[in-house]
Structure formats: C-alpha cells, structure tokens
C-alpha cells in the first residue's frame, strides 16, 4: 500500500526530458520492427555438389626438338660424328673461340640460346648449366663467369661469378674444366627454360683463345628429366660477334649441313644419316601425333636427291618411311630445299604401347642417293610430338 502511494507521488513522475527520450527510443524501435517485418519472408535453399574439377598436368600441344646428334655415314664406311659441337663432353668435338683479352670485358663473351622444346607452364625443380672449357695454350689460364638471360627480352635474370671473382678457371689445354652451375633460382618454370640464354664472359691470360667442349642445360621438371641444347651460339670473344646456328635446328637460316661425303647414285644400307633426338616425353604422356621434318636438297645443279627412312629404338626397327624401291621423296636441283613432313603414326600411343620409351630413344636413319654421286645438304631435321599428360 505504501508502495502504490509512493508511485502515485508526484515526486516520482517522469520528467519531460525522460519522456521525450523514451518516445524517441520507442519510435525507433517501432520503425525497426516495421522494416524487419517488411523484409522478412520465407526462404529456402537447396545445395548441389561439391564438384571437384581438375585440369590436366600438361595440356596437349606440339613440342618440337631438332636433332643435335648426327651420325653421318654418307661414305658408306661407318658413322662419322657430326653432332653439335656443344652436345657432349669428351666427344672430341669442340669449338675454339677467338682470342680473348687478359681482362674481362663487357663486350667479350660467348653466349648460347637454347631450344625451347618443353611444354610451357610446368614447374622446374632443377636446372643446371653445364659448361666444359680449357685454355687453348699450354701454360696459360682461361677464366669465366656467367650471366643468365631471358632470350626474348634480353632481361638479365642472374649471374654466377663476376669479373672480380670468376666462376671457374682452367690452366690446362688438354684437360677440360667442367662447370655444372645450378641456375634453379632463375629457372623455376619451363616458360623461362624455353626462353633461356646463357652468356659466358671470358678472359685468357695470354690474350689467346679457349676451347669449349660442352654447353647444355639439364635438370628436371615436375614430370621428366631434360637436357637442352643450344641452337644459336654467338662468339664475341674478340669483341665482335660471330653467330652460328646449329645447322639442323632452324630452316631458312642459310645455315645447313652438307654431308661429310658424296652419296652413291643408288641407295645403300651402309650410306645414311642417323639422327637422334631428346624429346624428354614424360612417362604416362599420351602421344597423339608424331611428325618428322626433313628438309634437304642436292648440291649439284640439276641433280636429284632421294631418301627413305627408318625409325629405330636401339636396334629395333619401329617403322619405315618409303623404301629403296619407292623413296619417301626426291628433290631436284641445288637451290630449293624440300619441305618434307613425314607422319610417324606408328609412334603414337594409339599404335604403340611403348610410345614414350620409343620416342625418348628414337633414332631416325635417312638413306640417301644423289643422281650425280655428290653430297646433299640438310636444312632441318626436327621431331614434332603432340602429347598431353593427365
């Protein structure tokens, strides 16, 4: 009773300000409720999936690789190694540079552009530049350091050694110094690997030449080991550049290979070229097409050169293309190269359960004849493999 009276007491009535505040809060609350009611409504949802989508490890595409290894049996008396001089060490095929200066110079170097035959966009786990060199004069010392570039843009990616601290030196004219420099820091993807230039700066204590035995790249991608070979070399040891393309790597470059000997006017099983390739097709790849480019011509005016071919894995004959009785093709004249493209369907996955192995060990023999018993010239020998990896 006391409480009720107390509530009724004028002393406990709300003040005008409190009333206004309460009114405002109430109005705001009312407005909020109104909006909520207007927006709310029933809703429902259904779900689908999850759906996992995964792309191929390597998309389908044609990867082309030239023949860097060439054995010339045109004489019919055994094979003569006519491979790229930078292909391998210890093969007695070397490049002797021009004369260097006894001090490093920014304008004195040799450089190599490598073939870009690996599928793009693949991570590279290891990449090594292999370089073998020796001084050309006994008692002198040759030293080098290297720079790594993107060939297409001439962008410097990194360097190993310097003019003050050479990467390696050789004080022998008979024993080659082999440098195996990791360049994995610069080469993390096949996009870079396929567009690589290595520049080797040099100096020679007696201002003389040096000998180069080896210049390759090797390593591994996520799916295959690889070795890559130079297709363009530039010798700027003297300060003036001399460019040399590997004869079989590029067509139409006015650089071609002339057989070591003359051919007979009839085919002979002992007269041939043998080409090997290094396509580095990954294990498990599906090979959908294989072609061979073989561009050739006679060297005698008005002469006719003909050829037929055989594909081998070791000593196992995989396929033949033409024959001694029915050549694969003939080309008359000594000015225009043929542009033969031979389909090697026998080496696809659809037709060959061991297609990857056979391609990675492929050797192609081209038997030739020349109507006037002269030599022939070869402009391009290239293997084109279309494959993908799931």
């Amino acid at each position: 009773m006391h409480g009720r009276e107390s509530h009724r007491s004028p002393d406990r009535l709300v003040t005008r300000h409190a009333s206004r505040r309460a009114a405002l809060i109430g109005a705001a609350a009312a407005a909020f409720c109104t909006v909520s009611i207007a927006v709310a409504g029933f809703g429902s949802s259904g779900t689908g999936g999850p759906m996992t989508v995964t792309s191929k490890k390597i998309f389908a595409g044609v990867r082309s690789t030239s023949a860097w290894n060439l054995k010339d049996a045109s004489a019919g008396a055994g094979e003569v190694d006519s491979s790229d001089v930078f292909l391998a060490s210890g093969d007695s095929r070397i490049k002797t540079t021009g004369n260097w200066s006894s001090a490093f110079s920014a304008t004195r170097y040799v450089e190599f552009d490598f073939n870009g035959s690996r599928p793009g966009g693949v991570p590279v786990s290891t990449a090594t530049f292999n370089f073998g060199f020796a001084d050309n004069v006994a008692g002198n010392t040759a030293c080098i350091y290297i720079e790594v570039y993107r060939a297409s843009t001439s962008t410097l990616l990194g360097s190993y050694g310097s003019s003050g601290t050479p990467l390696a030196c050789s004080s022998s004219s008979t024993t080659y110094t082999n440098v195996n420099q990791s360049i994995a820091t610069q080469v993390t993807s096949t996009d870079v690997l396929n567009d690589l230039r290595i520049r080797v700066y040099g100096k020679e204590s007696g201002n003389r030449a040096m000998k180069i035995d080896l210049a390759t790249l090797s390593g591994a991608t996520s799916y295959a080991n690889y070795t890559m070979y130079e297709q363009i070399s530039r010798d700027r040891s003297t300060g003036t550049a001399t460019t040399t393309n590997w004869a079989l790597a590029l067509s139409g470059d006015s650089t071609n290979y002339t057989s070591a000997s003359t051919w007979a006017s009839t085919f002979s099983t002992s007269r041939y070229f043998k080409f090997t390739f290094d396509p580095s097709v990954p294990t498990g790849a599906v090979i959908t097409s294989v072609t061979l480019n073989f561009y050739y011509r006679a060297t005698g005016n008005g002469d006719t050169a003909c050829w037929y071919g055989e594909a081998y894995n070791g000593v196992t004959l995989l396929a033949s293309y033409g024959s001694s009785g029915t050549p694969q093709s003939c080309n008359t004249g000594n000015t225009t190269f043929s542009t033969d493209t031979v389909t090697m369907s026998q080496l696809t996955s659809a037709n060959d359960a061991s297609a990857v192995t056979d391609l990675n060990n492929l050797a192609v023999r081209t038997y030739m004849r020349e109507s006037a018993n002269k030599s022939t010239a070869i402009d391009l020998v290239q293997l084109n493999v279309n494959y993908y990896l799931d």
């Binding site: 009724r8 004028p10 009535l13 409504g41 029933f42 809703g43 429902s44 949802s45 259904g46 779900t47 689908g48 999936g49 999850p50 759906m51 996992t52 989508v53 995964t54 792309s55 191929k56 490890k57 390597i58 998309f59 389908a60 599928p119 793009g120 966009g121 693949v122 996009d191 996520s222 993908y388 799931d390």
Partner: protein, 197 residues
Amino acid sequence: MRRASFRARKILLSLAALGAAASIAGLGTFATFTSSTSTSNTIASGTLSLTAPFSRLGTGASPIAPGDTMQRALDLSYSGTISFASATLTTSASPSSLLDTDALNGLQIAIDKCSQAWTEAGPPYTYTCGGSTSTVLASRALVGSGIALSNLTLTAGSTDHLRVTLTFPSGADNSFQNKSSTVSYTFSGSQRAGADQ
C-alpha cells in the same frame, strides 16, 4: 510541489472517469444480445521448400583441358505449399584455384531448362531435351553470389529440370595446368509476395 500534486490528482481522476464510462458502455452492449453464435477460424502458415532431389553436380571432372565442357543435370523441386517469387544461385570454391578465380579463362557456367526431364547419356554425361528448352543462366564466370536465375517455374509442387554446363575456355593457357577446384552450389528461393487469403 503542491501544484504538481494537484495536477497529478486531476489526471488520475480523469482516467478513472473514462474507465468507468467505458465499463458502463460495455455492460450496456452485452445487455442488448440475448443469444450468441461463434465460428472458429484456423490460420496456418504454409511451407516453402526448395530441394534438389536429383543432382549430378557431385560428379567431378578430371583431368580437363581447354575447350572441354561438363554437363550435369539437376532437378530443382518446389515441394512446399508456397510458391517462390525468385531464385538465385550462389557458388563457391574450396579449395580454390585459377580454374575458378580467373573470370575470363577460368570455368564458365551456363544453365538451361528442359520442359521435361533431360535424357541422360554417359558418363561422361551429356543431355538431350525431348521438350522445349529455355535459358536459366547465360554463360558467365563460375563463382558468384546471389546470381539471378530466369525462366524457372517456381510454383509450389512443381519441378524444374536443369542442365548445368561448365565450360573450360579454349583461351586458357598453360598456367591453368594441374589446377584443382571443388565447387559447391546453393540454389536459394524466396517466397512469393504476400496476398489476400
């Protein structure tokens, strides 16, 4: 102080008077009827339900290459008692990759509808429509939120027969190799507008 007390007393007296008058008026009204009848009016809310009783969206695809397409059928049922006003699609990817983050060359989605159930072949699944088709969603980047869908029936008790097509654009380059995305789909609907009942 005394004035305030007097004013409060006046207000209370006024309220008391009003209450007494209202009570009397009410009593008078009841006094008018001598019998009464009553009716009961049951009001119950309806249900809104969007389900996918048939769905191939859980079927993944691997390995895909640029130019590939993936077709998956899906029935969208409006199994409640209230029709829908609209429906949207929200897609998300986890794990995510370039396949779903690249709006241009990543996966694209399109949805069309068949007036009857799609005829399925495969796997890999492909579908043909024996009736008429209409576009529910024109081709666009796969991942998105609240993507408006068109030409759906949305009527309570009905079902839309949908075909979801994912396309891996031919323009995708080697950077899309060896990628993986797991995509979830959520179809959401909201009720029709309120109406007199």
